[in-house]
């Protein structure tokens, strides 16, 4: 029992983005307290500025190829971690910009809103770096608690409260399951770091442990059958929070899932591929079919989000480096398209105080820009070229077909058509129907910026994705030796076999 912690300057450098953000969120909180007369949107720009610094730092890491691990490999900074950190920080910046108008609706605690958003972002950045189960548990809860509060942020709104409560109950339930799963894995292996676990043999305890961990992460990403909180929470939460919730935590959770499946469980690939195939098929089909019946934009996007998660799971089920690449790329396309769509929902919600699809009637006449942007985002989600979503879906399918997951691809393709239908229903409302109130709509500067970023991302990723593909390929480089397509050729091990 000796104390053996040594941290050099180079080690600390790896922690700089997180530290910077931690300091910054304290600054935001203090500024909020210290200057009560400061207009609150300045806090938003302050937050964005800080996040910009973090983003710059992360990009520098990525370009300079700075990587390493700390604390007995429990905190790693590698391409994957950097990718997801950039992803999360980027999403956070966009969400904060999109929130500026919405926050005016809150009656109190406007400043704390930004603090909590930054807090969640910090948690998700740690998630991206988490390389052991304890870190997974802590960072997961860290990032989620911020959302508990944010979802219930509209204190006078019963729907928001209810959404917060449901999210919370299911969240802590998932946390308990996660904790129990971790305990079982720990019992079977004596280790928590992913790489160490990989050496473990195959026992029922381990299987159940990982199943429970997967269930908890499934809650996080909202894959069927762990999706039940998604529609209500999305519906009830303040729309910017919904936007945030629909993207950033998913990305961060996939960082963990990728590490877990590709590092720890690589030996059991045939078993978990089946599990993921099942989850993917259920998610896609359920999400898309239920989405058809939705009348509320946020609920529709919630169900479509479930379906999109199903699509992403295809990449995970492929279980190859290429599958990983595809997940990363898909998440990028999803970031721009989904956030863009939510930005429009926020904007329209701010203007007409409604999220019902019916109220989007004739949006094209009221604001051609909003309608066009929404069209682009929805079509990207549906996977129509030349938009990003198409490339994302294709990438995923290519990765999956290389592994011979035909059933999954067929289901995925059918689902594309189903999703096309309900997205087009919205398009129809916007473009074909006549507005009940023809007054024109216009949106504020920050919101416009978000929409433009979304449009630019959706188009660039669709038309010239190669730089981004290069990026994601580089980001998952460490898996190229761990997981290759030959892994699927190993003899199948039954999941509960003796």
């Amino acid at each position: 029992m000796t104390f053996n912690l040594t941290l050099s300057g180079a080690d600390l450098l790896l922690l700089v983005p997180e530290m910077l953000l931690t300091v910054w969120l304290c600054v935001v909180l203090i500024v909020d307290f210290a200057m009560p007369r400061l207009p609150k949107e300045h806090l938003a720009y302050l937050s964005v500025g800080g996040l910009g610094g973090v983003l710059a730092c992360l990009l520098w890491f990525d370009l300079a190829g700075i990587s390493g691990s700390l604390f007995a490999h429990m905190f790693v900074v590698d391409g994957l971690a950097l990718f997801f950190k950039i992803f999360v920080v980027g999403a956070t910046i966009l969400v904060i910009l999109a929130s500026v108008d919405y926050v005016r609706r809150f009656r109190f605690f406007k400043g704390e809103y930004y603090f909590l958003v930054l807090m969640s972002a910090l948690g998700m950045m740690f998630m991206a770096s988490a390389n052991d189960l304890l870190s997974v548990f802590i960072t997961l809860e860290f990032s989620t608690f911020g959302f508990y509060v944010l979802v219930a942020y509209l204190r006078d709104d019963a729907a928001s409260n209810e959404a917060g409560l449901k999210f919370f109950i299911l969240g802590v339930f998932a946390a308990a399951i996660l904790a129990y799963g971790i305990s079982l894995v720990y019992g079977e292996t004596g280790k928590l770091v992913f790489q160490d676990i990989a050496a473990a043999s195959y026992t029922p305890g381990l299987v159940i442990g990982f199943l429970l961990i997967f269930a908890a992460l499934g809650f996080k990403i909202g894959a069927v059958p762990f999706h039940s909180w998604i529609p209500d929470t999305y519906h009830g939460a303040p729309t910017p929070v919904t936007a945030f919730l629909s993207i950033a935590p998913k990305g961060a959770a996939f960082a963990i899932l990728i590490r877990m499946f590709f590092v720890s469980l690589v030996a059991f690939k045939p078993a978990w591929v089946l599990l993921l195939v099942g989850a993917s098929i259920l998610s896609m089909t359920y999400g898309n079919i239920v989405a058809i019946a939705q009348r509320n934009m946020k609920r529709l996007l919630a169900y479509s989000g479930i379906a999109q998660i199903g699509n992403i799971l295809i990449g995970l089920a492929a279980g190859t480096k290429m599958g990983g690449d595809a997940i990363l790329f898909y998440l990028l396309t999803y970031l721009f398209a989904n956030l863009g769509a939510f930005a429009i929902v926020i904007a329209v919600g701010n203007l007409i105080r409604s999220d019902e699809i019916e109220d989007y009637s004739g949006l094209n006449r009221r604001s051609p820009f909003l309608a066009f942007a929404m069209l682009v985002f929805l079509l990207s989600l549906a996977g129509v070229p030349p938009l990003a979503g198409f490339i994302g879906k294709l990438y995923i399918f290519v990765a999956a077909i290389k592994e011979g997951l035909y059933t999954l691809i067929i289901v995925g393709l059918i689902n594309i058509v189903i999703s096309m239908y309900y997205y087009l229903v919205i398009v129809k409302k916007m473009y074909i129907n006549e507005p009940t109130d023809p007054s024109p709509l216009s949106i504020s500067g920050p919101m416009k910026a978000v929409v433009y970023v979304g449009l630019a991302g959706t188009l660039i990723l669709g038309i010239y994705p190669q730089p981004f593909i290069d990026w994601v390929v580089a980001a998952t480089l460490m898996f190229s030796n761990v997981v290759d397509s030959t892994a699927s050729m190993r003899p199948t091990v039954p999941p509960f076999g003796g």
Binding site: V149, E162, K166, F168, S183, G190, D232
Partner: protein
């Protein structure tokens, strides 16, 4: 000497109890309590493994679980208070503004 499997069995029983409690009870606070039972089950496991595997990691994880539980309880109860102010109810069935 108590065998490890006894601890595991105890923990599993408690976990199952908590799980069933979460699933069947209507009262949010009791649901939260059931979650606490599940967390405790996990803690028993962790500490028992820590002891039998001669590693401190389990205990540390258990400690973090307690900390997390504390933080979440604070937030969760705050949420329940907010909801209670609005609806005068803490029952799952009655919180149904949003259809499931």
């Amino acid at each position: 000497m108590v065998p490890l499997s006894a601890y595991v069995a105890l923990s599993a029983t408690l976990f199952a109890t908590g799980l069933i409690g979460v699933l069947i009870r209507r009262n949010f606070i009791i649901v939260l309590m059931a979650v606490e039972i599940m967390l405790n089950a996990a803690n028993i496991n962790l500490v028992a493994f820590s002891h039998y595997l001669e590693s401190m990691t389990g205990q540390i994880v258990a400690l973090f679980v307690i900390a997390i539980a504390g933080g979440e309880a604070a937030v969760g109860l705050a949420i329940i208070i907010v909801v209670f102010r609005g609806k005068i109810s803490t029952n799952v069935d009655e919180i149904n503004l949003l259809k499931w």
